[in-house]
């Protein structure tokens, strides 16, 4: 699981922050900051991003034990 942000594509518009249902994202001076503890990997930010600057990695099928 993970969350990837492409700082070169990102326009810092904050749209992802607005649609995040768990308030796991924040637009700061450094760009978009991700709070892993809040993220539920729903992928809404990725779907929303107008420029495809976000990739959300969902849980793999086989969990490592």
């Amino acid at each position: 699981m993970g969350w990837k942000w492409d700082k070169n594509k990102c326009l810092r518009c904050g749209g992802c922050v607005a649609v995040c249902p768990t308030q796991a994202l924040e637009l700061t001076e450094n760009g978009i900051e991700w709070d892993e503890s809040r993220c539920i990997h729903c992928g809404i930010c990725e779907e929303f991003c107008p420029v495809k600057a976000i990739k959300v990695k969902k849980e793999k099928k086989e969990d490592k034990k």
Binding site: L11, G14, A18, V19, Q23, E26, I44, E47, P50
Partner: protein
């Protein structure tokens, strides 16, 4: 101690500050960006009627283009011309317009401070009492009687204050826009709107001219689309004569609230206006007028509250009530029309383009003429079911 702190120097925040300062209150606007008005977040159109109702007379340097009609295209390229019969509105230059609005607020006695980042909303006994922020490396704390969140759709301030403004992702369009030049605009007085599920799923593409060879060319679509907003817009630009060889002056993106009007936009000593409170026209996404309209109501209610020494949620609830009475209920009707339009196939759009007149579309954007739309929809069996969604009584 300030009377009022406003966070966000867009049209809503500066209007609220202006109205409050005119009433003699000590009010300051904090803007996190280093420049007011940039980056812009919209097509920059505003109607004369809106400006008049807001009592605004724009200086020349804010105006780029006068508009007198809109061409609305169906997927088969047939179109409906929405002609107002006279000059109807402006495409403004937001960089100038927003700064001018801020200047006007300051002329009435407000203070403005750009590049001021609000880090925390201060609370006592669970109630908002001020903010902690940073201006160019200098930290500060400031108390206030009322805090206004006018910080746009992500409204971080509302969240910190304790008001949940998280938008339903289905009610926020993914927006992307180029300001282009080196393009050919046949009649700069006309704006162009293109509908179709292949070009802009559940949304549309717009061209707002800023002269004969300059325009805002943008798109707003539902986030859950096959491709990104940027990809849809690039495809459109590539295949459109007059645009494809153009140059890009500016790239903008953002979330455009298209609904999710909020019943409760207040807390004790706190209220939200503009995009932060999802106050936009759900059909055209226009928010500049809505934000400033709400700002006036907010200022009146805060004025009354401070005079009575009561800025509790109960007192500020008058803002919720007044706004819904004067604006919300109307916008709710507009939202119903948008809900229907989102379900339409390309064939349906083609059909409607033949049935509808320009005046119908003007009515729809004002939340009027729902009956007329209902009458057209019932002509086609598969469209008739949407009539119910308009909540009409025949």
């Amino acid at each position: 101690m300030r009377d009022v702190i406003v966070v966000g120097a867009g049209p809503g925040g500066t209007a609220a500050a202006k109205y409050l300062a005119s009433k003699g209150y000590d009010v300051v606007i904090y803007e996190k960006r280093q420049e007011i008005g940039a980056p812009k977040r919209c097509g920059e159109g505003i109607s004369f009627g809106g400006l008049e109702r807001l009592g605004l007379e724009l200086p020349k340097n804010c105006v780029r283009q006068v508009i007198n009609s809109a061409l609305v295209y169906a997927p088969d390229n047939s179109h409906v011309e929405v002609s107002y019969g006279k000059d109807y509105g402006y495409v403004v230059e937001r960089k100038m317009f927003d700064k001018w609005l801020a200047e006007e607020a300051v002329r009435k006695g407000a203070k403005v401070k750009a590049k001021t980042y609000i880090k925390e909303v201060l609370k006592e006994d669970g109630k908002v009492v001020g903010v902690r922020g940073e201006h160019l490396g200098e930290e500060f704390e400031e108390k206030c009687k009322v805090l206004i969140a006018a910080d746009g759709i992500e409204s971080k301030i509302s969240r910190m204050a304790g008001l949940n403004t998280t938008a339903n992702p289905m009610l926020v369009d993914s927006g992307f826009q180029y300001e282009m030049t080196g393009i050919k605009i046949s009649d700069p007085k006309k704006i162009h709107l293109y509908f179709g599920n292949d070009i802009a799923p559940r949304g549309y593409i717009w061209i707002f001219p800023k002269g004969e060879d300059v325009a805002n060319v943008g798109i707003g679509i539902v986030g859950k689309s096959q491709k990104s907003a940027k990809e849809y817009l690039s495809e459109f630009v590539e295949k459109t004569e007059g645009l494809k060889d153009g140059s890009i002056l500016e790239v903008n993106s953002g979330g455009i609230p298209i609904g999710g009007l909020m019943n409760k936009m207040t807390l004790d000593n706190f209220l939200a206006i503009g995009d932060a409170a999802h106050q936009v026209n759900p059909i055209n996404g226009g928010g500049m007028y809505e934000a400033q309209f709400a700002a006036r109501i907010a200022a009146d209610v805060i004025d009354e509250g401070i005079q009575k020494g009561d800025t509790s949620e109960k007192q500020l609830d008058k803002y919720n009530k007044k706004w819904w009475e004067e604006r919300g209920n109307k916008l709710k009707k507009v939202e119903k029309i948008r809900e229907v339009s989102e379900k339409l196939s390309d064939e349906d759009f083609n059909f409607l383009a033949k049935e509808l007149k320009g005046d119908n579309l003007i009515d729809f954007s004002r939340g009027q003429g729902l009956k007329g739309l209902g009458k057209i929809l019932i002509k086609k069996p598969h469209l008739a079911k949407y009539v119910k969604g308009l909540h009409l009584e025949f």
